[in-house]
Structures are given as structure tokens and as C-alpha cells.
């Protein structure tokens, strides 16, 4: 490894160091405040290190990783989102007294590390290692000890289904390796471009990889686990699953799709288009029936990942930009929405404040959180003046530009269906206050994070030019 590679990889090394430091600190002194604070500071340092270490030109770090503009952007999103989750977790776990709270942050850090290296992966080995680091930490986080009814069940479910999907992924990689003799994305692209287009090994391999990735991104028809896990996991962990893991896996999928462009054959494109359409329609239709806010948001996240696939299918400079913008918009909005759920919940009560009736009268009892939640819903629905509106516009632009008729039609139809359930939440919040309310008192720093997210949502929703400039500077400048 050269010095340049070391520098470029520095943020990730730093995160590893922070993880070890936090682990040692737990051994020395068990203090929730101290551990949470060091986690937050550590993640903050990683965020700062990222632009400082960003190389001028793409830098290969071993054959496994490459650090370029798009890594800076996506890893930045991952670190930033993890930071928000860490602060929200601190506010959330502050109320817990029975379970040990310190190891939670350790798992959070390792999961973040796994997620952060995914956008930098250019090799199946790195892809798989990053994904497993992320998934195994997530099992622990989802089932994190608390008097919750179904936490352990959800953890086991994720373990079994996640294991199965990893097996699919591995088998797919093995088939491609058997066919082409390489694990590097770029080599796969070159070789499969040169090889015959009707290669059974490769076709099956790609299909299996798509299955594994589809599970992680919770795309229809691999989405069954999503609502159960989202509902049973503690709200900050749900935010992490919904945002950080999705960003990371989508970023690596984007890189694989573009680098191994030979793979982007007609069959694969048709398959992806079908998955996208099913996710957009299925996610939105299933969300209509939900009375649980976390399940509702779970189905809505399925639909949003479907929207994102439109940008992936569109490809080209516009598609890549649109995906980058929409991921950021999705991250801000989902972190905000789940963050508000977390702010209203306490681990001691056995369940989060996630039923729709918990939200009745919120406009009166918690006006700030209710107004923020309303704006998050409007952003998810794609209404102005929010980030989600610009993001959806960007996606439709890229889809129309690439002439994707059916995916764009499904996007439009899905958006219209989605309005119904997003607005239902607003209606619930506007109803009279019920006699008894299971809503917890929010802590000020949690609210401060929500306020920050709200500011991003509105500022870049009204004036998105700087955000687009940033994307052009990082992701757009990447030569794939």
C-alpha cells in the first residue's frame, strides 16, 4: 500500500480505531453517557476526516477497494446517518435502566464500519465482508436486550433470512467466479463483455446476486421480513436498518451495475425493471392497510427503494446524480420520521409508540414533533417545499430521459397511492387528544437533531442547487 492509499483510507481506519477504543473504554468504565459521547465524537471525527482525506483522483487501496468521489459522498451519508442514529439512540436508551446499554454502541460502530466500506468495494470479497459485518452487527442491534415482546423473535428472523440471502449471494458469486475466474467488478465487466451473451452460469449467478441484494434492499418479492423487523426493532435501530444499510447496499449495487456494465444485459434490465415496478406498487398498496406507523414506514421504504431502482435503470450521468440525490433525501426524511418515533418512545414501556392511535392529538400535545413529522410525511409523499419533492422530480427526470415508460408509470401510480397513507398519519395527528396517551417525553438533544434534519429538509427542498453542486463535485466527477 502506498502512502496515498493510506491517506485515502484514513476515515475507515479511524472508524476501526474508534470501535476498538470504545470497546476498551467499556472494559475500563461502564457509563452510558461516556460511551455514547465517545461514539458520537468518534463518528463526528470520521465525518470530518472524510473530505480531508478525499483523494484528488481515484485511488486503489489493495485490489479490494477504491476511494473516489462517490465513496466520499456515500460514506459521508453513511457516517452522517450513523451519527444521527447514535444521538437518537442516546436519547432513546437514556430511559432504559435494566439492560446494559454500552455494548449497543459497539454494535452500532461495527455495523457502520461494514456499511461504510461497501460503497468503496470493487471486489466480491470486499462486498461480502462488508455486507456480513453489517448484517451480523444488525442482528445484535435488532434483538438488543430490552423488555420488548418480540425483539428476540425479530433477531432470529433476521438471522435466518439474512443467512439464507447471504448464501444466495455467495453462491451467485461462486458461479460467476467459476465462469469468469475473477472476483473483481471491473474484470467481470471486461470478460463478460467479451464472452457470449447467453451464458447460463453467469445468468444464474447474476440472478442469485440480485436475490441476495434484493433481500438487503427489501425489494418485492424479497421484502417479507421488512415490516416485522422494522416493527420489532428499537426505533433508532429501525432508522439504521432503513437508512444506513440501504444506502450502503444501494451504493455497491450501483457500482457493480456500472463497473460490470457487460452484466447490464437485456435480461438483467428487464428483471430489475420488474422488481422496481413490483416494489413501487406492492410497497404502496400494502402500506394502505397498516395501522402501525413503523410497519407503514417499512412498506413505504420498500416503495422508495423501488423508486430508486428507476434511477439505477436510467443510468448515465443523470441517473447516477438522481440516485445520489434521492438517497440523501430518503436518508434525511427517514431518519427524521423514525427519529420522531424514537423520541416519542421509551424502551421501558415494552413497545414503541408506533400505533397510529398513539399519534392522535400530537399537534396539540407535541406541536414541534407533530409539525416535523408532518413535513417528513410530505417529503416522503413528494410534495413541496421538501427534499422529497426535488428528489422525486429528479428521479422522474432521469426515468423520462432514459425513456423508461413502465417504471415511470409505476412511479407516478405509486406516488398517488402513497398520498393516501401519508396523509392518514397527518389526519391522525390532527384528531382530538385521547384520554390516555402512551407517548414519552422527548429529550432536548433528540429534538435538536430532528430540528437539524428539518432544516436540511426545507433548506435544500427550497434551494437544492448547492446539494446538486456537491453531488456533481463528488459522485458526478467519478470516472467509473
Amino acid at each position: 500500500m502506498t502512502a496515498a492509499a493510506f491517506t485515502a483510507f484514513m476515515p475507515f481506519t479511524l472508524l476501526g480505531a474508534v470501535t476498538i477504543a470504545v470497546m476498551l473504554l467499556i472494559a475500563v468504565r461502564r457509563s452510558h453517557h461516556l460511551i455514547a459521547l465517545s461514539t458520537i465524537v468518534g463518528l463526528l471525527l470520521c465525518c470530518i476526516a472524510l473530505p480531508l482525506a478525499a483523494p484528488a483522483s481515484p485511488t486503489a487501496v489493495t485490489p479490494l477497494f477504491i476511494i473516489d468521489g462517490s465513496v466520499t459522498y456515500y460514506a459521508g451519508l453513511v457516517f452522517g446517518s450513523a451519527l444521527v442514529v447514535a444521538i437518537l439512540s442516546y436519547a432513546y436508551l437514556d430511559g432504559a435502566t435494566q439492560a446494559p446499554r454500552e455494548e449497543y454502541y459497539l454494535l452500532l460502530l461495527t455495523a457502520t464500519l461494514g456499511a461504510a466500506v461497501l460503497p468503496a468495494s470493487v471486489h466480491f470479497a470486499a462486498f461480502f465482508l462488508g455486507l456480513e459485518t453489517l448484517s451480523i452487527s444488525l442482528i445484535g442491534l435488532i434483538a438488543y436486550a430490552s423488555p420488548r415482546e418480540r425483539a428476540a423473535e425479530a433477531g432470529i428472523k433476521y438471522l435466518v433470512l439474512g443467512g439464507a440471502s447471504s448464501a444466495f449471494l455467495l453462491f451467485g458469486m461462486a458461479l460467476i467466479y467459476a465462469d469468469l475466474g475473477t472476483l473483481s467488478f471491473a474484470r467481470i465487466g471486461v470478460l463478460s463483455h467479451a464472452g457470449s451473451p447467453h451464458d447460463l452460469y453467469r445468468a444464474v449467478g447474476v440472478a442469485m446476486i440480485l436475490t441476495g441484494v434484493g433481500f438487503k434492499l427489501s425489494l418485492v418479492p424479497f421484502h417479507m421480513w421488512t415490516p416485522d423487523i422494522y416493527e420489532a426493532a428499537p426505533a433508532p435501530v429501525t432508522a439504521f436498518v432503513a437508512v444506513v444499510s440501504k444506502i450502503a447496499v444501494f451504493a455497491v449495487l450501483l457500482r457493480y451495475f456500472i463497473l460490470a456494465e457487460g452484466q447490464a444485459d437485456a435480461a438483467l434490465r428487464a428483471g430489475l425493471a420488474a422488481i422496481a415496478i413490483l416494489s413501487m406498487l406492492g410497497g404502496n398498496l400494502l402500506a394502505l392497510l397498516q395501522d402501525n406507523v413503523k410497519r407503514l414506514l417499512a412498506y413505504s421504504s420498500i416503495a422508495h427503494l423501488g423508486y430508486l431502482l428507476v434511477a439505477l435503470l436510467a443510468g448515465g450521468a443523470l441517473g447516477i446524480e438522481a440516485a445520489a440525490f434521492y438517497l440523501a433525501a430518503y436518508a434525511v426524511t427517514s431518519l427524521g420520521a423514525f427519529g420522531i418515533v424514537a423520541q416519542l418512545s421509551t424502551p421501558e414501556s415494552g413497545r414503541d409508540a408506533d400505533r397510529l392511535r398513539d399519534y392522535r392529538g400530537l399537534f396539540r400535545t407535541r406541536p414541534f414533533l407533530a409539525a416535523s413529522f408532518a413535513l417528513m410525511m410530505l417529503s416522503l409523499a413528494g410534495l413541496p417545499p421538501t427534499l422529497g419533492f426535488i428528489g422525486k422530480f429528479y428521479l422522474i427526470t432521469s426515468g423520462v430521459g432514459a425513456g423508461l415508460f413502465w417504471p415511470v408509470a409505476a412511479l407516478v401510480a405509486g406516488s398517488v397511492i402513497g398520498l393516501y397513507y401519508y396523509l392518514r398519519v397527518l389526519v391522525a395527528m390532527a384528531m382530538p387528544v385521547p384520554a390516555e396517551s402512551a407517548v414519552a417525553a422527548p429529550l432536548w438533544f433528540g429534538n435538536a437533531v430532528i430540528a437539524g434534519l428539518l432544516l436540511l429538509l426545507l433548506a435544500f427542498g427550497a434551494y437544492p442547487a448547492p446539494a446538486i453542486a456537491l453531488i456533481r463535485m463528488t459522485v458526478g466527477a467519478t470516472t467509473w
Binding site: 423520462v400 430521459g401 397527518l426 437544492p464 442547487a465 446538486i468
Partner: protein, 505 residues
């Protein structure tokens, strides 16, 4: 710069009213009044001759960079058409604040904030000339309107509000797709990726693509206008909305649909619009008759007024697709007169409901006795609505029929039948509610007549409708340059339709 102020003042004013709402319920009311009064003053200073220079007739314009990466700029332009519609918007918003003084007692701050934000969105729609900016404002006015209906409406408010949003949003996304296709076609032809209206005018494309794109725009505006068969959201939304919401919906939001047809559909796709004109005019005529027929059958007074809106907007559609000078002037006047007369009728229904707690005309009758002032105003605006000469609606409908006669005689003849139907339902309303035997209201105290606040508002609206009816020339002077330019964009349409008229003769 005054155009920016026109938008910023109600937008910021909305935040302000929300904040002061926590202090005292009267503060947001006064704040909203003040904000709208300032906005009205700014709009009034803009009245004046337009500088018509070939393709444009702007009174004022503004162009700021917004999202340069995507060829989107914050481009506002004001011509006479925009100006009169903006004046109507601000005046009706001002009136909405006044008539909500006693009706809205719950979350007063938020109510007025939404009112002002809806006004902002509508003003933006009338000003924006960048296609994306237009779409932004088009969507922006939806959200506060949704809240106005869903939070302060009547019995079935949630159903009505969600239906309103889904209809509007679904159609406007189709418009967005059509917009984008247009932009990409323009980019392929010129290499320039832009949403600028003036640049996109006259983009060359094949007739079949132009037709589909025109349809994409048309559907969005047809839902807002509304055109039968896209009208089903309107009776629900109007009926369930609070009075101020109904006034804004009928008076202002419907006009954005007509404005969109005038500004975008015909100028951007003149040939396709011309090919589509017979269908559109047929839809307009169907709307006139169908709206009148349904209005005739209603027992709910508010629903009656709502269906009469569909009928009146049918005239607007007919006039737009006749696309000649007479019809277009008629369209503008019909929009203004409908805004005033229907707004006034909704205010009266709201006042009645506040007093006798029902909108059902079967339970009314003989109201002239206890409430002579309210009933008298009711009759004036009912006969305005049926198109009595001397009042504004007459001029609008007359000019539209005159113009459409040049374009199509059969449609004009059938549309004229709508005037008779209009007389039927309007007079029925007067007869059932105000005349006849007073129906007993056991247990309710004798209703009191209109108070000074309502009298002032109704007096103002009455003056407006009489003014429009007796001396509409200032309005025509103000809008003619802008309409002339628009007519120039649709030149292909105009020449074709003249030929058509000559052939008809």
C-alpha cells in the same frame, strides 16, 4: 423585485400568523389582514400598461438563478392576465379572513397560516414562467388547501380532502411527465436543457407526440377546472371545506386550471390543441349542462353552488378552445365574475349554516322574514349566477357564446341552453331558501341577520359584480396585450379556427 415581494409577504406572513396564534386568537386575524392588505397595495401599484414587444407583454418580470444545473430558473413574469387574477386572489383571501372571524375559533393561527400559504402558491402559479417553477407552486398550493379542508371542514372532511389531493396530484404528475418529455425533445433539437417557457414555445415535434403531451397538460388543468368527467372531487371538497376554503377553492383554485389552459396548453401545442378542440368544446358543453342538471337536483345548498361552478367552468373551457379575441376576453371576465359571485354565495351559505346549523334547503324556507339582508344579497348573487344582464357573469357568458359562435355553431346553441338551466337552479335556490312558508325550528332562537362585518364584505362584492357587469372595459384594457400575445403563440390555431368559422358561414 415587487414580484418577489408579492410572493414573500404572504409566505413569511403565514409563518408570522402561526407564531402569534399562540398568544391571542385575534392576533393572527389582524396579522393576516395586514399582510394581505400590504400585498394588495403592491399588486395595485403594478396596474398599468404593458410593454408589448413582439413575443411578450410583461408589466414586470424577474429572473433569478435557482437550480442552474437542471436549467431551472426562478423566473416570474406578470402580464395583464396574471395581474387581474392575482388581484382577485388577494381580494378573496382578504375576504376569507374577514368572514372566518367568528366561524374559525380553533387553532386560529394555523388556519390563517394555511390560508396565506395557499394564497402564496396561487400567486406563484399565476406568476411562474419556468415550467418547473410553475409545477412547484402548483403542488405547493395543494398542501395548505388540504389542511384547510381536513382540519376545519365539516362532517366528511377527511374523505373530501384526500379525494381532492389524490385527484389533483395524480393529474399533475402526468403533467410533470409531459413537461419532461417536452424538455427532452427540446434538448435533442437544440442541445439546451431548459424549463424556460419562452424557449420551449414552438418546439418542433411530431403531431402524435404533441397530442399526447398536450393531453398530459390538459388532464392536470381539466381536473382543477374541473371538466366533466374529472369533476367528482369538487362537490365533496367544496361542500366539506370551511367557508373560507370554499371561497378560495371556487374563487381562485379553479382559475388556475383555466389559466393553465390559456398559458400553456394552447400556446405550447397549438396544432394538437386545435385537433383536440372539438372534443374539448364538447366536454365544456357537457359540463355546462351536466353541472346545471345536478345543481338543480341538490338539497344541500352548498352542493348546489358547487355544481353550479362546474356549469360555469364549462363556459370557460368552451371559450378557451374557441380561441378568438372575443371568447378569450369572455373567459377572463367569466373567471372574475364567477370568483366574485360564487365566492359570495359560499359566504352566504356559510353565514346561514352558522345561524341555522343546516345547509339542507328542505329545512329552510321563509328566511326573508327574519333575515332580509342576507336574503336580499342571496337573491342578487343568485341572479348574477344565472347571468342577468347588468351583472358580471352576463358579460362573460355572452362574450364566450359570441366567440364560440365563430368556432362552432352547434356547440354554441347547446351551451346557450345551459343559461336556461342556470336560471332554473338559481331561482329554485332563492325560492326554496328565502321565500315560502317559514319552516319551524323548534328550540332554536330566532336567527339574527348579517352583521356589519358580513355586510361590508357583501357590499364590496356586490359593487364588484355590478362594476364588472356595467363597465368591464378597464379589465379588457388591462388583459388585452397579454391575451394578444398568447393568441399570437397559438397563431396556427387561430388561423385554422378562422378558416373553420369562414367555412361554417
Amino acid at each position: 423585485m415587487s414580484l418577489l415581494w408579492l410572493l414573500l409577504i404572504p409566505a413569511v406572513g403565514g409563518v408570522l400568523t402561526w407564531l402569534v396564534g399562540a398568544r391571542h386568537p385575534d392576533w393572527p386575524r389582524w396579522t393576516a389582514l395586514l399582510v394581505l392588505a400590504i400585498d394588495l397595495l403592491i399588486a395595485l401599484t403594478l396596474i398599468g400598461p404593458a410593454v408589448a414587444s413582439g413575443r411578450t407583454a410583461w408589466i414586470a418580470s424577474l429572473d433569478l438563478p435557482w437550480i442552474p444545473q437542471l436549467g431551472i430558473s426562478f423566473e416570474l413574469n406578470l402580464d395583464g392576465l396574471s395581474l387581474v387574477l392575482i388581484l382577485l386572489t388577494i381580494v378573496l383571501s382578504l375576504i376569507s379572513v374577514v368572514i372566518s372571524w367568528t366561524e374559525i375559533t380553533d387553532r386560529v393561527g394555523l388556519f390563517h397560516a394555511n390560508l396565506l400559504w395557499a394564497t402564496t402558491g396561487v400567486i406563484g402559479v399565476f406568476l411562474a414562467l419556468d415550467l418547473f417553477l410553475f409545477f412547484f407552486f402548483w403542488e405547493l398550493m395543494l398542501v395548505p388547501m388540504y389542511f384547510l379542508i381536513a382540519l376545519w371542514g365539516h362532517e366528511h372532511r377527511f374523505y373530501a380532502a384526500i379525494k381532492f389531493v389524490i385527484f389533483t396530484q395524480g393529474s399533475s404528475l402526468l403533467m410533470l411527465v409531459a413537461m419532461l418529455v417536452l424538455v427532452f425533445i427540446h434538448q435533442q433539437a437544440t442541445g439546451q436543457f431548459t424549463f424556460d417557457y419562452l424557449a420551449l414555445l414552438g418546439t418542433k415535434m411530431s403531431p402524435s407526440i404533441a397530442f399526447w403531451l398536450m393531453l398530459g397538460f390538459f388532464v392536470a388543468f381539466a381536473v382543477k377546472l374541473p371538466v366533466v368527467p374529472f369533476h367528482t372531487w369538487l362537490p365533496d371538497a367544496h361542500t366539506e371545506a370551511p367557508t373560507a376554503g370554499s371561497v378560495l377553492l371556487a374563487g381562485v383554485l379553479l382559475k388556475t386550471g383555466a389559466y393553465g389552459l390559456l398559458r400553456f396548453v394552447v400556446p405550447l401545442f397549438p396544432d394538437a390543441a386545435h385537433a383536440f378542440a372539438p372534443v374539448a368544446m364538447a366536454l365544456g358543453v357537457i359540463g355546462i349542462l351536466y353541472g346545471a342538471l345536478l345543481a338543480f337536483g341538490q338539497n344541500d345548498m352548498k352542493r348546489l353552488v358547487a355544481y353550479s361552478s362546474i356549469s360555469h367552468m364549462g363556459f370557460v373551457l368552451l371559450g378557451v378552445f374557441a380561441w378568438n379575441a372575443l371568447a378569450l376576453q369572455g373567459v377572463v371576465l367569466q373567471m372574475l365574475a364567477h370568483g366574485v359571485s360564487t365566492g359570495a354565495l359560499f359566504i352566504l351559505v356559510g353565514a346561514l349554516q352558522e345561524r341555522i346549523h343546516t345547509r339542507d334547503m328542505r329545512l329552510m324556507g321563509g328566511l326573508w322574514g327574519p333575515m332580509p339582508r342576507l336574503s336580499a344579497f342571496g337573491m342578487i348573487f343568485a341572479v348574477a349566477s344565472l347571468g342577468l344582464p347588468g351583472l358580471g357573469n352576463f358579460i362573460g357568458e355572452f362574450l364566450i357564446l359570441l366567440g364560440s359562435y365563430h368556432a362552432s355553431v352547434p356547440f354554441t346553441v347547446i351551451a346557450a341552453i345551459g343559461l336556461v338551466a342556470g336560471a332554473a337552479y338559481s331561482l329554485l335556490l332563492v325560492q326554496r331558501a328565502f321565500h315560502g312558508q317559514a319552516s319551524p325550528h323548534p328550540g332554536t332562537p330566532e336567527p339574527i341577520d348579517l352583521t356589519a362585518r358580513h355586510l361590508a364584505v357583501m357590499g364590496l362584492l356586490m359593487l364588484a359584480i355590478i362594476g364588472l357587469g356595467l363597465y368591464p372595459q378597464p379589465v379588457f384594457d388591462q388583459v388585452s396585450p397579454g391575451l394578444g400575445v398568447l393568441k399570437g403563440y397559438g397563431a396556427a390555431f387561430a388561423s385554422a379556427s378562422t378558416q373553420f368559422a369562414e367555412a361554417a358561414r
